[in-house]
Symmetry: C2
Subunit: 331 residues, 2 copies
């Protein structure tokens, strides 16, 4: 294994420490609960937004804590759901009279941790709701999931509920918006290589020198099919067709189009994919009016990419266009 | 080779097309000259800033065209200097009565192309000056360079001259600022893996499973030494010590600290490196007051990172803090 790492067990805490040191004015780091929070949270005038997940998906979610996005993120270890205690600590840290919304990508481990945390937080008198995100069209159930997985499309939910909460929406309204955005968001990904978790030290799965995994999960879970690598044009078709036909997206739709890198793919290739996907959508009468190219939800050092489409109406488009101030540029 | 690519010869044009499609309001793309320019360039009230280089270093430089940064970028093919014609076309495209500044990272091929372009542009009546950037402390001369190489520290020069030009500084003043920032900027990098150019289809050099290349160039040029991989702590020492002792940086200095990914390294590892570097500097009385973590100047899909330090005074710090609006978040 060749990585920038000291003790693999300290990989996540050392990353979080670096993140806090790089953002001293805006973020606070609580090592006890693996917790990154906005320095100005909680604010009495807004619902607080929290997301946790396994680590290894950075910038999701610790690097999208900030104005207009998350109030706190409580990651677990690499590819491991955060313990319930961490989630409760996060809800406590950003507890606001307007309430706390817990966002969860739909994986069985995360779901259990967050549902239990919601009960505990509620018992402490914290006004709390939970929202599950499941944008991945690749598979119905998977290694770690009953129902669809939550992947990069999650960012659009964060952005929309973050913007709504900054504008003063109440908890029910923020939940409505989050559910709405999740319901119009679809993603599918492809892996060119496996990823290597620091504690394992070797690739999580085997992929031949000329093979790709279509519909891969962000923990390396199997997708729809393993096949020989093909041209970028063909790969975009393989990803885009199931996304478009799923909602379905149709002639006349305005969309947000995201090409997300899975960690080991250079941004040059992501822009190349973006251009292809953009033109293929336009050819179907679907107009990308907001573009997102870069790394949003990764799988450590996996080479690969996912494509996400969000169907826009005026409400969603306005929420996505609201300002945000976070360590990485996303929106 | 596993990459998102159609015809390798069309890799750069297809990337540029994607970039332009993703940024229709702010960027224009001229396929004839491989040219990305601000949609609002030239502006009569500001010096125009142009940079070109080989492609494969994205986001450098095509993705940092925008308000407060570059007015145009004219890349060559992957790892190949732009032809003189492209540079002249870029100067022509953004020709302003206040003048045009050409920024060049110090490589022999780029230097030749830009010096000839400056002569041609001058002969056409364009008011033009050229500034060379050479922040890499790793080697004195290298495969493609006489004198030091220009690498990720280049971004600080772009940011400073971009900010000064937006504020209305004249060409001589913009050159003075660029030279000043270059003179206080130092970088060194390390590769964990080689990179694979699309047209070659195989890794550019060989690096053993447990080896790293210390002081690597952004085209895979040899650096100072090849050695066994060590801990992240030790790698930071290996990079930081030559940087600090070179200027030298000293107790009491305020600095900007950049940890730049070389293309294949996840941002989690970059933040881990940032935290280590930050603390090692503080221990020496050197205070990072501005932080930059992410990909700025890459080498295709190379796993690796570089560290850059910039010595700050009030003038430089203010220029770095000015607003910028570009496709990637950098500043």
């Amino acid at each position: 294994m060749k990585k920038f790492v000291n003790d693999p067990k300290q990989f996540v805490p050392e990353m979080l420490k670096g993140l806090a040191l790089a953002n001293p004015d805006t973020l606070t780091y609580d090592p006890e609960a693996n917790l990154i929070a906005r320095a100005d949270a909680p604010r009495d005038d807004k619902v607080s937004i929290v997301q946790g997940s396994g680590s290894g998906h950075e910038p999701a979610h610790v690097m999208v804590v900030g104005k207009g996005m998350l109030d706190a993120a409580c990651p677990g270890d690499v590819f491991a759901a955060p313990p319930t205690d961490y989630v409760v600590a996060a809800a406590r840290r950003v507890n606001s009279p307007k309430g706390v919304l817990l966002l969860v990508n739909n994986y069985t481990g995360d779901k259990m941790a967050f549902e239990m945390a919601e009960e505990f937080a509620d018992a402490e008198g914290i006004k709390v709701k939970t929202l599950f995100i499941d944008d991945d069209v690749a598979v119905k159930d998977s290694t770690y999931t009953i129902g669809r997985r939550g992947v990069a499309g999650n960012f659009f939910v964060i952005k929309a509920v973050g913007a709504a909460s900054e504008a003063g929406a109440d908890l029910d309204e923020v939940v409505r918006i989050g559910q709405k955005v999740n319901s119009v968001t679809r993603t599918m990904g492809v892996a060119l290589t496996a990823c290597t978790p620091p504690a394992k030290g070797s690739p999580l799965f085997e992929l031949g020198d000329d093979e790709i995994e279509v519909g891969v999960g962000i923990h390396g879970e199997p997708g729809r099919a393993r096949q020989k690598i093909v041209s970028a044009d063909e790969i975009v078709d393989i990803l885009l067709d199931p996304i478009v036909s799923d909602l379905p997206f149709a002639d006349g739709d305005r969309v947000a189009l995201m090409v997300n890198g899975l960690g080991g793919t250079p941004i040059s290739e992501l822009y190349l994919l973006y251009g292809i996907a953009h033109e293929k959508l336009v050819a179907q009468g679907i107009t990308p009016v907001r573009s997102y190219v870069g790394e949003y939800c990764t799988s450590l050092d996996m080479a690969g990419a996912s494509i996400t489409l969000v169907k826009l109406d005026d409400e969603v488009e306005e929420l996505l266009a609201a300002p945000a101030e976070i360590p990485i540029r996303t929106f």
